[in-house]
């Protein structure tokens, strides 16, 4: 009997290209406990997105396996909600219909799914925007709706692939706080990918640092900052120390990419 929520067991990915085989992700293993917020930090092109896509089931690993609640995963499913960096709301659906989309696929009645949608709209602070279309929303609002849409499905784990990467710095900081609030209320397990050191520290219980290509786990850094966290924690000495340590680690890896 496993105690971990998600087990990533010797997962690796090799891409075949014209010039031969490229190892995108070296054999990687780690575990995530129920309700944990894990951030994965890595330089661009380190295979962190590939890892997340394998967990989502959007890509097959070349080796190893992923288990969720003890069951090996094959292909994508509603038990693993995902939020992408790009805006992926359905532009032809209103905000509430976007959030209720997964429930509609399941055949949940309209009244019931709109009630769920309303609950999550409130959670992300967008009550009143039920009937808006995505084109009428700002980037930050779109990503909040995307988070609500993934949560409305009540997934076992939430996978986030640099969801705030396309947002400006101010909006991103606010989004991080909203996400923490949502996480604290929903008690979801979250696997969050980023290349932003501050974001990784501010959000995570543990930060996994990855090496440059081929991607591999380099170090796991527990974040001992108290919860619930507010933006002011970013000014604390403890935060600064962690940030410096991670910056050093990630800098080594980034340099390998720039000066191979």
């Amino acid at each position: 009997m496993e105690t971990a929520k998600l087990v990533i067991d010797q997962v690796g990915k090799v891409f075949s290209t014209k010039s031969g085989e490229t190892v995108a992700l070296d054999k990687t293993s780690f575990e995530i406990k129920e309700g944990e917020f894990i951030t994965i930090l890595g330089p661009s092109g380190c295979g962190k997105s590939t890892l997340l896509r394998i967990v989502a089931g959007l890509e097959e690993p070349s080796s190893g396996r992923v288990r969720l609640d003890g069951r090996e995963i094959h292909g994508p499913g509603p038990d693993r909600g995902m939020v992408f960096q790009s805006y992926t709301l359905y532009p032809w659906l209103t905000v509430e219909d976007n959030i209720a989309f997964g429930l509609q696929l399941k055949g949940v009645s309209k009244a019931e799914r709109l009630e769920v949608a309303r609950h999550y709209l409130e959670l992300i602070g967008l009550a009143g925007f039920e009937k808006h279309y995505p084109i009428q929303l700002s980037g930050g609002m779109k990503q909040r709706v995307a988070i609500a849409r993934a949560l409305a499905n009540d997934p076992e784990i939430l996978l986030m692939d640099e969801p705030f990467g396309a947002l400006d710095a101010q909006t991103r900081a606010i989004m991080q706080e909203i996400l923490l609030k949502v996480w604290e209320e929903s008690k979801k397990t979250i696997l969050f990918i980023t290349h932003d050191v501050e974001e990784a520290v501010f959000l995570g219980d543990t930060v996994y640092v990855m090496t440059a290509r081929p991607g591999r786990l380099k170090k796991s850094i527990p974040v001992t900052l108290p919860r619930p966290r507010e933006y002011s924690v970013k000014n604390s000495a403890a935060f600064f120390e962690l940030k410096m340590e991670l910056l050093e680690l990630i800098r080594e890896e980034s340099l390998k990419v720039v000066k191979p």
């Binding site: 509603p78 992408f84 989309f101 499905n153």
Partner: protein
């Protein structure tokens, strides 16, 4: 202000924009008038503007032109609908499934370069000279392009949108009906609008051979009897009908896809 007018991609006042279009029309009319009233060209080949207006009034008050318009419109419409009924499902299928694209794209890509007009003798042999043959020409002229354009629209649906739908629990059939189809619908309607315009251009080709009525037939007959004014009126009618259907399609588009507008419904 004045140097704004010739700055690349710079916005200009709406009035100036409209005025520029009107001026071109007026210049065209002026040249036409100068050539005809000035006696530069023989009116037997190019009648003056007022003659065109009088011929148009005569044709419409006579009423016979309406049956020609009706017949031509029916041919274009039915030929186009027949093409759309097959092209839209086939195109979306080709844009969705690589196997369907692999199977049909080379074949359709090959046929579309064959001129529809060159098939008329074959169509006559196979279908005779009745309405089916006219519609076949219009069908042939639009179907292949339409299929490929619909395929492109469907292929352009953002891949992230499909992937996120899988993670929300969508099955393959749901990906098609609930994601790819609604995402492509605006592009499909736009494709129909554009190809309907092409259908009009094939009308005259369809009515040149073996027709006894319709606008194309009227134009051909007028050439035979040296009536350039009737030819020009016929061409203008076809142009206007094309423009009207275009406007109707645009209205449908605007009414159907309010979600594409920032200001909402």
């Amino acid at each position: 202000m004045r140097n704004h007018l010739f700055a690349p991609k710079k916005e200009i006042p709406r009035k100036v924009y409209v005025l520029a279009g009107v001026v071109v029309f007026l210049v065209f009319l002026a040249i036409w008038s100068a050539l005809t009233y000035g006696g530069v060209v023989n009116p037997l080949f190019l009648p003056p503007p007022d003659k065109i207006v009088r011929t148009a009034i005569a044709l419409f008050s006579d009423g016979e032109i309406f049956s020609d318009i009706g017949i031509s419109f029916t041919r274009v419409f039915l030929g186009f609908v027949a093409a759309a009924v097959i092209a839209v499902p086939l195109g979306t299928l080709m844009g969705t499934l690589r196997i369907a694209e692999g199977a049909f794209e080379p074949f359709i890509g090959f046929i579309r370069y064959m001129p529809a007009s060159a098939f008329i003798p074959l169509f006559i042999l196979w279908l005779g000279l009745d309405e089916t043959e006219k519609m076949a020409v219009i069908f042939f002229g639009t179907f292949f392009q339409m299929t490929l354009m619909v395929m492109d629209v469907t292929k352009n649906v953002q891949n992230d949108l499909i992937e996120v739908s899988y993670t929300l629990g969508a099955r393959r059939s749901q990906i098609f009906y609930k994601v790819i189809l609604p995402a492509s619908l605006p592009g499909i309607v736009d494709t129909l609008r554009i190809t309907f315009g092409w259908a009009w251009t094939y009308l005259v080709v369809a009515e040149i051979v073996g027709a006894a009525n319709g606008l194309g037939y009227m134009i051909m007959q007028s050439s035979r009897f040296l009536k350039p004014d009737k030819i020009i009126v016929g061409i203008l009618i076809i142009g206007l009908l094309g423009l009207i259907t275009d406007i109707i399609f645009k209205a449908i588009y605007r009414a159907s896809f309010t979600w594409m507008r920032r200001e909402g419904a």
